[in-house]
Symmetry: C2
Subunit: 219 residues, 2 copies
């Protein structure tokens, strides 16, 4: 019974995700669904991305949060359109939530739409929202054992951003081992090392986004 309900929920989600994907394709907008633990630095990476790509790519952000608009407020300061989804305690975004707000956006006026998911290394990975790519942000403060402990999110993502590398010397994180584990879970996956404090790795991440947007628009 429980399994059947779960199948139905995921089936309905996949149907709406397909609708979203068609809508994004019609408008030529590249969509990335950014996931990660609470405090991994998703919003900080987005803020650095906005600073770097403003005036170059036409961007908007959908912010998923349980209750507050704290992250949306941070993005709004960068003069980038941001729409907030409050899940009222729900642990992930789903395709219906994203569709509801995306329908209100001028998608044709965008090159890049970033969906920042709820802070959670587990549930968001199970729900397609119609994105082109999923990405995962992992802070080095979380420990190098996390890829093997939370494998699905790494298998599902096209890019892994290993963040807060400025405090790597104070953390128990073996970068080589983490990279090996991620590559074993998802061969060929792009792995970037970033710090929003020093700016390290932000340009390669923005370059990765530029290429993905360009590929989408040439499709």
């Amino acid at each position: 019974m429980e399994i059947q309900v779960r199948k139905n929920i995921l089936g309905e989600n996949d149907r709406m995700a397909a609708e979203n994907r068609a809508m994004f394709a019609d408008n030529g907008v590249y969509v990335i669904n950014l996931m990660g633990s609470p405090g991994s630095g998703k919003t900080s990476v987005l803020e650095k991305t906005m600073e770097k790509l403003k005036g170059e790519l036409r961007m908007a952000v959908i912010e998923g949060d349980l209750f507050t608009s704290k992250d949306a407020d941070r993005i709004a300061k960068h003069d980038v359109p941001v729409i907030q989804i409050n899940t009222s305690g729900g642990c992930h975004l789903d395709a219906a939530m994203v569709q509801k707000v995306a329908r209100k956006m001028d998608l044709a006026a965008l090159d890049l739409l970033i969906v920042e998911n709820v802070g959670n290394l587990v549930c968001p990975a199970e729900f397609d929202v119609g994105e082109d790519d999923k990405g995962v942000v992992l802070s080095v403060t979380e420990g190098d054992d996390k890829p093997l402990k939370y494998p699905l999110i790494f298998k599902e993502s096209a890019v892994a951003i290993l963040n807060k590398v400025d405090i790597l010397p104070y953390c128990n994180f073996d970068m080589e081992s983490a990279r090996e584990d991620i590559s074993a879970l998802h061969p060929g996956m792009t792995i970037l090392e970033t710090s929003c404090t020093t700016g390290q790795g932000i340009e390669p991440w923005c370059e990765w986004l530029r290429q993905r947007v360009e590929e989408k628009q040439n499709r």
Copy 2:
């Protein structure tokens, strides 16, 4: 329909949690359900707890993990009985999972049973497993905005452990503001500052546990 299913699942969980609670009470064992984000340091805090309380309290640990036994292996090194629950990707422990393994344990031979939940700041807070208290571990690397962003887990917990304070100087974390927010969410809640690197705060945390165990045994 979805709401009804959810109510049924939670109702069934509460029923089994009540069974667990009675079983723990019959055996005079105090049970704490420890929650927190991936990488907040739950297992490290447990390792320090084992070192400190070994020979003084009779302890066992139930380790919740998605797939691996990495955390259980770390606890087993301290010669404390540990049972692993693999949720096969499930984002939280529930009362049925805990009951299944707790029935195999010699509960009468224990003073303290620690349940380490799946690394997730959202879902575990919704599921009673029959514990006496819930506790939340938050790493200061996650940022001081987390209590207000993830309020339920702080409302549900009797104790908040603010961990990794040794790297506070390198983090954007206002301790006073975090304490105020936690106290506003849950007035009177115990808030401890710990570092598993320097050992700071481990003794007050163990003293808190000792008192809770003693209160349970005098009930």
